[in-house]
């Protein structure tokens, strides 16, 4: 009987040690998890937001004839060493008149395929699922639920610049600011 009691206490003590061991490991895991999770989520946090949301010059306004829509290319403001060609992106620049511009992302507002501009019919057409947009970026036909994404733009010292460091997506955080509400008047 006494042996059994002794055994019981021994086991209890051992069990306590085991539980302490588990708790100790749990503590170590939590301490380690903080930097690991921070590393994994680094793409989501706003660490480099200032960099990729900075203004990118597309060139002097003279490059873009009035009343026409031209393809312009630019380099993403945030570049990492292994990006290769993927940081060079294109956008459609529509110069309405004077310093009045619209800069559209090439990405279709449906699923992001590159839309092409057809000046003859005044339409942007998407090769993937047949989305079509008018010259002012407004949805014309097909599966897109909205018009083309526009990049914020400004003209300073005769140079057109845009804020385009982020892939525009239909549900993206900036998509709401990217729609065509700033559009003025008719698209003729």
């Amino acid at each position: 009987m006494s042996i059994a009691t002794e055994n019981d206490t021994t086991i209890t003590r051992r069990r306590l040690f085991m539980k302490l061991g588990i708790m100790f490991n749990g503590l170590v895991a939590v301490v380690l998890a903080v930097p690991l999770v921070r590393f994994l989520l680094s793409a989501v946090t706003r660490e480099h937001q200032d960099e990729y949301l900075s203004w990118v010059a597309l060139g002097p306004v003279g490059q873009f004839p009035e009343g026409e829509t031209r393809l312009a290319t630019f380099r993403s403001p945030y570049v990492t060493p292994t990006d290769g060609k993927t940081v060079d992106t294109a956008c459609w620049v529509r110069r309405i008149a004077g310093e009045e511009f619209q800069v559209f992302a090439v990405n279709c507002a449906h699923l992001g395929c590159p839309v092409r501009w057809f000046p003859q019919s005044g339409l942007f057409l998407c090769p993937c699922h047949g989305g079509a947009y008018y010259r002012d970026g407004e949805r014309a036909a097909g599966p897109p639920e909205r018009g083309l994404f526009t990049y914020p733009h400004k003209v300073e010292n005769g140079v057109l610049s845009i804020q385009a460091g982020e892939l525009p997506t239909p549900g993206g955080p900036r998509a709401a600011n990217h729609d065509n509400r700033e559009r003025k008047g008719s698209c003729v």
Partner: protein, 495 residues
């Protein structure tokens, strides 16, 4: 010989695996399951191992960097001895793996093998299917070409529609604000470490359960599964009419696995590797991105869903499909196993197969996309120009120049986005044609801002000539009654 035996004994004394391995190999299986219908699971495992081996070979040369990946694939295709062949084996192996996993799943479903007590085996199998599709998608990303780049854009666009978390998930998937180097590195880690690791773990679990619970007996109409009695019945069946898996059934698995691997080799030799297509340079926008074969159906669905339904269908639909697959063994865990007594099961498979087949077929020529070169490359057929007035011919020029042809076929050539216009004048009156051209509607853009009155007049005059000889053009009945005659109200009509 004696020496080999001695070495074997030396190892087994320390490892002690010979007895359990023999036990597994010789476990009794119901005699009728030694059938050609039961070979797909082992074939899927064989192709998986085949993919691991060829994948490791590719990894020796492939560089998972957005700046180098495409070049390293070109190097593999053209410079490395038999590099093209290993790429072809891995690419075709991927197609075969998806196909065999799907066939295996259909067979398991139709034979009622997901029912008690094999529910968990089925559920693990559902995850194995998802992992297999994950491997197929991430593999396409690693072939870092134009299709991969824009495919990532499509993935990001779909993901971004997730409520609240959308933008966050996109950045997590891409590893940054745009599709660039970080995205490829992520998919490399997924394709080479994360998903294969999970696959190996889940395949082991799947196999363990197959061995522990026994292979599903051949379903007989009327032999009903009941939780209370099934296990006892199964054990009696294997005891009474069982045969050792090795060698009784295994030879068919071996032959089929061999045939599958041989088929992959033949496809690789005959058809060669997949791509890479153009460089992943986003400034080149003259591209028509398309997913790999097993995602073509999805590509079609995304084109055909009405806009208002799309987000709900993509996000809700995937949750529902995966949910139903996982819950299936709980919804019908007992009862008949034989497909002869399960008409709804058979009809579901037929329906799904026909739907997926139809969508895949449609995606092959994507009739919903404008044909970008039709306006400049496919002239109006002569028969639509013969004996036409100057105005009507001018209309034909407008028709080409304004790229109507990109969406509308004439004489069988041109886009298929809109209806073919060979006989449009029999469907629409002059007024309706004018309205349709200027205001659009029914998925056609409005051209009112892009046509001057003279162009519109000419275009409509041309469209009015588009009716078969001997068939009268459409006319406005109310107009005719006002005029007091049944003469057509359209000008330029000809017999």
């Amino acid at each position: 010989m004696r020496l080999i035996e001695q070495i074997g004994e030396w190892f087994d004394r320390r490892l002690q695996v010979a007895a359990p391995v023999r036990e597994v190999a010789e476990h009794p299986v119901p005699r009728e399951t030694a059938s050609w219908w039961y070979v797909f699971g082992s074939a899927a495992l064989t192709v998986f191992m085949f993919q691991v081996v060829t994948g490791i070979m590719l990894a020796i040369v492939y560089v998972p960097s957005a700046s180098e990946a495409w070049n390293s694939l070109q190097h593999l295709n053209h410079d490395v001895t038999l590099g093209w062949f290993i790429r072809a084996l891995h690419g075709w192996g991927s197609n075969f793996m998806v196909a065999i996993v799907l066939i295996h799943m259909v067979q398991v479903f139709l034979f009622g093998a997901y029912k008690f007590p094999r529910e968990l085996t089925w559920m693990v199998g559902v995850f194995l299917l998802l992992m297999t599709l994950g491997m197929a998608f991430s593999g396409q990303v690693l072939r870092f070409d134009q299709d991969a780049y824009w495919g990532l854009g499509i993935g990001a666009s779909i993901l971004s529609r997730t409520p609240i978390l959308g933008g966050w998930l996109v950045k997590l998937m891409l590893g940054g604000p745009i599709i660039a180097g970080a995205a490829l590195s992520r998919f490399f880690a997924l394709h080479v470490f994360v998903i294969p690791g999970l696959l190996i773990f889940l395949v082991s679990l799947h196999l363990l359960m197959v061995v522990k619970l026994g292979i599903n007996e051949w379903p007989m109409p009327g032999r009903v599964v009941r939780k209370a009695t099934y296990e006892k019945q199964y054990h009696e069946l294997t005891k009474k009419d069982g045969a050792p898996f090795v060698p009784y059934a295994v030879w068919k698995d071996m032959f089929f696995a061999g045939i599958v691997v041989l088929a992959i080799v033949v496809c690789a030799v005959v058809f060669g590797p997949f791509g890479p297509t153009g460089q992943p340079d986003p400034t080149i926008i003259q591209t028509v991105p398309k997913p790999d074969y097993f995602f073509l159906w999805l590509y079609a669905v995304l084109a055909l869903l009405p806009p208002w339904l799309e987000t709900a269908a993509i996000l809700g639909g995937s949750v529902v499909v995966i949910g139903v697959l996982l819950l299936l063994p709980f919804l019908s865990g007992e009862g008949e196993k034989s497909w002869r007594r399960r008409p709804i099961a058979v009809m579901s498979i037929v329906l799904i197969a026909v739907a997926l087949g139809t969508f895949t077929h449609l995606a092959g020529y994507s009739p919903w996309s404008p044909k970008m070169t039709a306006w400049s490359g496919e002239p109006v057929p002569e028969k639509f120009l013969e004996a036409r007035t100057a105005l009507e011919r001018k209309g034909a020029v407008v028709f080409q120049a304004k790229q109507c042809r990109n969406c509308h076929a004439l004489g069988g050539s041109g886009g298929q986005r809109g209806p073919e216009l060979d006989a449009v004048a029999t469907r629409l009156t002059r007024d309706q044609l004018i309205r349709q051209v200027l205001q659009g509607g029914g998925n056609m853009p409005a051209y009112g801002n892009n046509l001057n009155p003279a162009e519109t007049t000419a275009l409509v005059a041309f469209l009015e000539t588009l009716h078969p000889a001997g068939q009268r053009p459409a006319r406005d009945a109310s107009q005719a009654s006002i005029e007091g005659s049944d003469a057509p109200n359209t000008a330029g009509t000809r017999p």
